[in-house]
């Protein structure tokens, strides 16, 4: 019987021995790799840099699509930004200044390239630019690219952004409706398609070596919309795209190429741009590998390889950073304390983030089959449909939020209270504008006035929602519950996390009560925030019920329209300030917070700068290590 002990012991010894053998091997393995590095890079101070030839960014999540005209998320945008190029780009981190990119000049009134009171934009094109496959860039490619984007216009995609300045509508469907009376662009016949094409084509013209955009109305943020970093304006190779099975460039084929699904989109996983990096390999959810474009029209990038890895597990990202395997990692706000003070790691906090998180209130809650309003009546056991139509209720809620605690504790100081729909540093944002503060007395005052005092008498019970998994929103909801319930013992708030599917359903079916949402900038202009939050047909405004919509149609929409068609910046500033205070006075939503961004990287990374529009995307061309 003793033999069995021996066997066990033997197994243990082998296992332990095997382990140590393997760790030793590991050490042996890493050394020669480092020696090689030293040989290649004689400069002594870079000897400690892990992998100097490869820049590794570790992020999380999926990449939606590599098609620049399809993608509408920050992870995709980052890759598009490095592979494709636009006519102009931001002057590094300055979102108000542009420098030429594929165009040789940035149009302005002064240089005469913006004409016709801001309705014509002329871009002289750069020559000797080649795509990664060796094809040369022509003005025709630019025109093709913009038309492809307009024709493709997938549902839920980003193309609405250029429909607005170019055609003053929101989508291709609106254009087809207007021009040929067809509701769904996929139903266009060949003739109708040609008609629509002709209508679209007049907005983008090629004039010799220039590309000319014709706008029906002045649209101040136009340059920002088509600037580098927004895939919409990315220029693709016409010939190559057609080869891949993309839009054939023919006027009669809109129906065939509009609104593709990802699997039907030939550019979903292929890239061929003019940018400083070209795509080597993309495994969605795992990694994207880029390599330097050696025939780049500027100096080739200094780092030969870029790897963007997707790692959902924070602990893993943390260790990769710690070991120097990663040069930049994505860190959720709540884990900042774990990276502060890490050796060889640079933490930059407090970067301005053009983003607004708000509590959206539904002015006309659909009460039927909606458990979140409980009784659905003003009887102390629920809330009526028009609960949030009462301005006192809205103000009461606005005063019952502890903004300072939220910023201090939840955001750990990385942010500020929202002052309205428009965040810093956009036009209309004012540092000392009026805001709601945490003041339970004032909250009580308003709640007492709500529904002519009946609400105070009866009390209410409501369930407010957050999409589960979102800690920050959950905390906001918990806080609100905590403080509102302190005001009156008959006030009862339940906090319920629901899955994204149900959250979306609630929003669409107008059944949400108060829910936390957010909006991040598509381009650097207050228009981009005023519309979704305030306009009667805005992304969020449109879901807030009849009472809101009729009020907004009267009070908000004209102001927004004025703001976007005005070119004088001072006048515009005044208009947006008015909008901001209109939102404040009416307590339209609960503007909760504007977070700041942070970046966590190894301290050997050089040349990094922050661009709030591209956040958190990185433009690797400017980096070195």
């Amino acid at each position: 019987m003793k033999k069995s002990y021996w066997i066990l012991l033997l197994v243990v010894i082998i296992a332990v021995g095997g382990y140590f053998y393997s760790t030793q091997q590991q050490e042996v393995v890493e050394e020669p790799a480092q020696e090689e590095i030293v040989q290649e890079e004689p400069a002594e101070e870079t000897a400690e840099v892990v992998n100097p030839d490869t820049f590794t960014e570790v992020n999380m999540g999926n990449i939606d699509s590599l098609d620049p005209h399809f993608q509408y998320d920050t992870s995709s945008a980052e890759i598009v930004d490095n592979v494709y190029e636009n006519l102009i780009r931001f002057d590094k981190g300055d979102i108000t200044k542009f420098v030429p990119n594929l165009a040789t000049e940035v149009p302005s009134e002064e240089n005469g390239l913006i004409q016709n009171d801001g309705k014509t934009y002329i871009f002289p094109m750069r020559e000797d630019v080649v795509f990664h496959n060796g094809n040369s860039l022509t003005p025709e490619d630019v025109k093709y690219s913009f038309l492809r984007a307009l024709i493709q216009d997938r549902d839920g995609g980003p193309v609405w952004m250029i429909y607005e300045p170019l055609f003053q509508v929101g989508s291709l469907a609106e254009v087809t409706q207007e021009v040929v009376g067809v509701e769904n662009p996929s139903d266009l016949s060949a003739e109708q398609s040609e008609e629509v094409y002709n209508y679209l084509e007049q907005a983008v013209e090629v004039d010799g070596n220039n590309v000319v955009f014709n706008l029906p109305q002045p649209f101040p943020p136009f340059l920002s919309i088509i600037s580098q970093g927004n895939g919409l304006g990315a220029v693709i190779d016409k010939e190559w795209t057609i080869e891949q099975g993309g839009w054939d460039g023919q006027p009669d084929s809109i129906a065939e190429y509009t609104n593709p699904t990802k699997e039907d989109d030939p550019l979903f996983d292929k890239m061929n741009g003019t940018g400083p990096y070209e795509l080597v390999e993309w495994t969605n959810g795992e990694s994207t590998i880029l390599k330097r474009h050696d025939d780049y029209w500027r100096e080739p990038a200094s780092i030969p390889n870029v790897v963007i890895q997707m790692v959902d597990e924070w602990s893993t990202r943390k260790l990769m950073l710690q070991r120097g395997d990663a040069d930049i990692v994505y860190v959720d706000k709540q884990y900042m304390s774990q990276v502060e003070g890490m050796d060889g790691v640079e933490v930059i906090r407090g970067l301005p983030n053009i983003y607004m998180g708000a509590g959206l209130m539904n002015y006309n809650i659909v009460t039927e089959g909606n458990p979140d309003v409980h009784s659905g009546q003003l009887d102390g056991e629920g809330v009526p449909s028009d609960f949030f139509s009462d301005i006192h209720v809205r103000k009461g809620f606005n005063y019952a939020m502890n903004y300072d605690a939220f910023v201090e504790d939840v955001l750990e100081g990385d942010g500020q209270q929202g002052r309205g729909p428009i965040p810093e540093p956009l036009l209309g944002y004012e540092e000392d504008s009026l805001t709601y503060s945490f003041d339970l007395e004032k909250a009580e005052e308003h709640f007492r006035q709500a529904f002519d005092g009946e609400l105070w008498e009866q009390g209410f019970e409501i369930t407010i929602l957050y999409n589960s998994g979102n800690d920050v929103r959950k905390l906001a909801a918990d806080m609100l519950k905590n403080y509102v319930e302190q005001i009156n013992p008959d006030f009862k708030i339940n906090v319920r996390g629901i899955q994204w599917a149900s959250y979306l359903d609630k929003l669409i079916a107008n059944k949400f009560t108060l829910g936390f949402i957010a909006w991040g900038a598509d381009y650097a202009d207050p228009h981009n925030f005023a519309v979704p939050f305030l306009r009667s047909d805005g992304t969020y405004g449109g879901f807030k019920g009849e009472d809101y919509i009729s009020w907004a149609e009267e009070n908000v929409d004209p102001v927004i329209d004025e703001g976007i068609s005005t070119t004088d910046p001072d006048e515009r500033e005044k208009i947006y300030k008015d909008l901001q205070s209109l939102a404040y006075e009416n307590a339209v939503d609960m503007y909760l917070y504007q977070p700041t961004a942070q970046v966590i990287m190894r301290d050997w990374v050089e040349g990094w700068y922050y661009n709030p529009i591209k956040d958190p995307g990185i433009y690797f061309y400017d980096l070195d290590k």
Partner: protein, 291 residues
């Protein structure tokens, strides 16, 4: 073997006694939860109170003797009320799914033939989806919540009992006393109840006691993956999911947040351990072949 005898032996066996003592401890904690950890809001005792709004866990201190986990949830409170959650899940899920399994298995074996074939193929279908995946899908569809977790677990966990019961009944069915009852013209219901189920129940009971632990583990796993209990609900699995992003500690002290993982981890492991110890001892007692 008589029940009294089984219980007597369970109490005599050191291992199962240990298991029984742990369970008793958990039962006491569950029963007296309102006194051990008085809820802040009596209407919603299962919501763990927060000790602040910060996300960073706090180590054990006088006010929060086990510390607070991510989001300042009181670990002590979560453990105490999580005991109730665990019992609720275990008893309800094992109870109902065993009942379904016993019924299905008995019907299949007793009637045999076509009915048996159909039932067993349905069982196969339910068994062909990995349990955890099936429950994730179902809970995602039903929405978060302990009730929904239980529904999903029941839906996908009755099959093993059904199979066990079927094989048990098949062997007992041929026994003389059953044949005799059939010959005497007893009705099906009576035969099934009086003669078959009572004679086959012990292995099912052993299995059920083992499943207590595994059902609680699966429920916690769902919470851990973020589809089980709603955030802030007193549930051990969720408390561990709160710990997930803190296991590497801070620079210089990798064990800085040990309490967020170790305390709830110990609770759930001990709970399952105690049921498994009892189940183990049970089997040893009832399975004379092994002694």
């Amino acid at each position: 073997m008589e029940w009294q005898e089984v219980i007597k032996r369970l109490l005599q066996n050191k291992v199962s006694l240990f298991g029984i003592l742990i369970i008793l401890f958990f039962i006491i904690v569950a029963v007296f939860a309102p006194y051990i950890a008085p809820p802040r809001d009596a209407d919603e005792p299962y919501l763990i109170p927060r000790g602040g709004w910060s996300i960073q866990p706090q180590p054990p201190n006088e006010e929060y003797i086990f510390g607070t986990t991510e989001g300042q949830y009181d670990i002590f409170y979560g453990i105490v009320w999580g005991t109730r959650t665990a019992f609720r899940i275990g008893l309800v899920v094992v109870g109902i799914s065993s009942f379904i399994g016993i019924s299905v298995g008995t019907i299949a074996a007793y009637y045999g033939g076509f009915i048996d074939e159909i039932i067993m193929r349905i069982t196969d279908i339910f068994m062909s989806i990995p349990f955890i995946i099936a429950t994730i899908v179902f809970v995602t569809i039903l929405g978060q919540g302990i009730g929904n977790v239980m529904i999903a677990l029941i839906t996908f966990s009755w099959m093993s009992t059904a199979r066990l019961m079927r094989s048990q009944v098949l062997s007992v069915k041929e026994d003389e006393f059953v044949q005799a009852a059939v010959a005497l013209g007893a009705n099906d219901f009576r035969i099934i109840f009086k003669h078959i189920i009572l004679n086959t129940i012990f292995p099912v009971v052993i299995q059920a006691s083992m499943r207590m632990g595994s059902m609680v583990i699966t429920a916690s796993t769902l919470s851990f993956l973020g589809v089980g209990a709603p955030e802030g609900y007193a549930d051990w699995g969720q408390m561990i999911s709160f710990a997930r992003n803190w296991i590497l500690g801070v620079e210089g002290n990798p064990l800085n947040y040990w309490y967020t993982l170790v305390i709830p981890g110990a609770a759930i492991t001990l709970f399952c351990l105690s049921w498994n110890l009892i189940g183990d001892a049970f089997r040893d007692i009832l399975d004379p072949k092994l002694n």
